[in-house]
């Protein structure tokens, strides 16, 4: 297993417990480039052991937000504070950037693995950047390789690995300093389903072990599966925040009936169907009927065998599209 220093008190104190300070506390973040406002007053906090997802269309400000959290871009206004779990004074970005990064793990969108080093060497060289000594690394590297399911590839270079293996090596590398907080920027983009599931399983293990995660993703199933809480960014603003299921319940009807096939578009105005749906949306050749109870609607549709229908519960993707729109962005 991966070493973590999580030592959460197991018994709650008798007096009303003070909530532990958030691990990362981001407040009123703004960033403009020229006249373009990229991040506009974003605030959020990550509690110890929490997985927070940041979702939003391309250009919503996700990457800039992450870069500011890493001290790579200076915010125009706002503050970023890190509260070390071991106690001590809170650290502020960018002033204490190096002290904060000592306790962070980062997996960027694009791998930055060293192509000239094999898997073990990649971990060792990266560990040295954190000032870790030989003995500690000798002990930790085999554990990390095992965690990443790469023990059999210890001597292989990144160029010889599959995409999924490279992402897991990047994850293992980010864990070399036993971080309390992981920042993951689209960790499974471009992976096949097997590799994604293995990645998810590893990330879930980390959260169970007490590691906090800040995750950006375009995959709603990934966000729903991994994140205990989500924030939705669009045009640099936070437009929604909450647990995935709660957000869906708050913003959406329970069920969706998708109708497609020959002449499907005409049915959006049908006098019998329209009153049975709370909300109707069209995307391409498909009509989406959003409703609390789909059965009356399905009964009517049954009489039209030329139409193809899909009945499913409303999901995070519906929420995302409702909040950020179905149109492809000009700059996306």
């Amino acid at each position: 297993m991966v070493p973590t220093d999580a030592a959460a008190p197991s018994t709650p104190p008798l007096a009303a417990p003070l909530a532990p300070p958030p691990l990362l506390d981001v407040s009123g973040l703004c960033k403009s480039y020229g006249s373009a406002v990229v991040v506009d007053g974003v605030s959020f906090a990550i509690a110890p052991g929490e997985c927070l997802g940041v979702i939003g269309p391309n250009g919503a400000g996700k990457t800039t937000t992450i870069r500011m959290c890493l001290g790579l871009t200076a915010p125009d206004t706002g503050s970023i504070h890190y509260h070390p779990p071991a106690g001590g004074a809170p650290l502020a970005m960018p002033r204490d950037a190096l002290a904060i990064k000592q306790q962070l793990g980062v997996v960027t969108q694009f791998d930055t693995l060293d192509p000239d080093f094999n898997c073990s060497e990649n971990l060792r060289v990266y560990g040295r950047y954190f000032g870790l000594g030989r003995a500690l690394l000798d002990e930790r590297i085999p554990q990390l390789l095992e965690f990443a399911a790469l023990s059999h590839k210890a001597s292989a270079k990144p160029g010889e690995l599959s995409g999924g293996m490279r992402r897991r090596l990047s994850l293992a590398r980010a864990l070399v300093n036993a971080p309390h907080l992981l920042l993951l920027d689209e960790p499974t983009t471009g992976l096949d389903p097997q590799a994604r599931h293995l990645m998810w399983e590893r990330l879930q293990r980390l959260v169970q072990g007490g590691t906090s995660i800040l995750l950006t993703t375009h995959f709603m199933d990934e966000a729903e599966r991994l994140c205990s809480r989500l924030i939705v960014l669009d045009h640099g603003k936070k437009i929604a925040e909450g647990a995935p299921r709660a957000l869906i319940a708050e913003h959406l009807e329970r069920e969706v009936v998708e109708v497609y096939g020959a002449g499907a578009l005409a049915w959006q105005h049908d006098a019998r169907l329209a009153p049975l749906a709370e909300r109707i949306e069209v995307s391409g050749e498909t009509v989406f009927f959003y409703t609390q109870n789909a059965h009356p609607l399905l009964d009517v549709l049954l009489e039209q065998p030329q139409l193809r229908t899909l009945h499913r519960p409303a999901n995070l993707e519906d929420l995302f599209l409702k909040l950020t729109g179905r149109q492809i962005r000009q700059d996306a």
Partner: protein, 272 residues
């Protein structure tokens, strides 16, 4: 805590944030290079030695002896003492341009490092010292061959050695400016053609600068490579440089200024 207040972005020209953090980055480059050291050694010294043999013995037979500060000097010694500075310049420039650019832009190695407790300033310092180390390595190999060929036996070569390291540091610093500005490898062709090649011909490597027209010579006085040659050549002839303070001062001032500019431009590149 300044929530809500407009925080001024830190100046690109602020003092460098340097610490011993550069060492793991330097070590990283050393470990990669160690795997390729022997082939790269051949590449690093083969070309300078060809220059030396072809020009030194070929041209040397035609030229005979030259006079430097009133002292007669065999042409091969004149050339060896100048071309070793040129080798330091080329080795440092090549490493701080092509290789550093690969690590910075193509492999994104720097981005990976900047997510650890190592600042961009330290990464750049590591690259500066690394390119200078590569130059020193090349220079050392050439010096050993020159000793074996009996071109110079001056005990002051021991002083020339650290001076050549400083020459490497200076040319690394200058090259890192252009590394920070580069959009691709093609850009470096201009640097080699427009910055390094003129210095090669105007700095007294192949012929005494006294041959140059006065205006060109006045320009040549200020070239970094000229100052390097002015320091190193007398040491090969077992003499002390005549204007050691002036040349040494120019060398150090150029290094500090170039690194400062390179740092500001690199910060700008990474903040964008």
């Amino acid at each position: 805590m300044n929530t809500g207040e407009l925080t001024r972005p830190p100046s690109l020209w602020r003092a460098p944030d340097l610490s011993r953090n550069w060492w793991p980055v330097f070590l990283r480059n050393l470990l990669v290079w160690r795997k390729l050291a022997i082939p790269s050694l051949v590449g690093n010294i083969a070309e300078p030695l060809m220059w030396l043999v072809a020009f030194g013995y070929g041209m040397g037979a035609l030229v005979g002896k030259l006079t430097v500060h009133g002292e007669p000097v065999p042409y091969i010694l004149f050339l060896a003492s100048g071309s070793i500075c040129m080798s330091a310049m080329n080795a440092a420039s090549f490493e701080a341009l092509y290789s550093a650019f690969s690590r910075m832009h193509v492999q994104k190695t720097w981005e990976g490092i900047m997510n650890t407790p190592i600042s961009l300033d330290s990464v750049l310092l590591a690259e500066l010292l690394w390119a200078a180390f590569k130059a020193l390595f090349t220079v050392t190999a050439i010096l050993l061959v020159m000793l074996a060929l009996g071109i110079s036996h001056s005990p002051k070569l021991l002083v020339a050695w650290p001076v050549l390291l400083c020459v490497g540091v200076m040319f690394s610093a200058i090259a890192l400016i252009f590394n920070a500005l580069a959009k691709g490898y093609d850009f470096f062709t201009y640097y080699f053609t427009l910055v390094l090649t003129p210095q090669m011909f105007l700095s007294g490597v192949f012929f005494p600068r006294e041959q140059l027209p006065p205006l060109v010579r006045a320009i040549s006085d200020w070239l970094p490579l000229t100052n390097a040659v002015e320091l190193v050549r007398p040491l090969f002839m077992d003499a002390w440089p005549q204007h050691a303070l002036q040349s040494g001062g120019t060398l150090i001032a150029t290094t500090v200024l170039a690194f400062w500019v390179a740092l500001a431009l690199t910060r700008r590149r990474f903040e964008a």
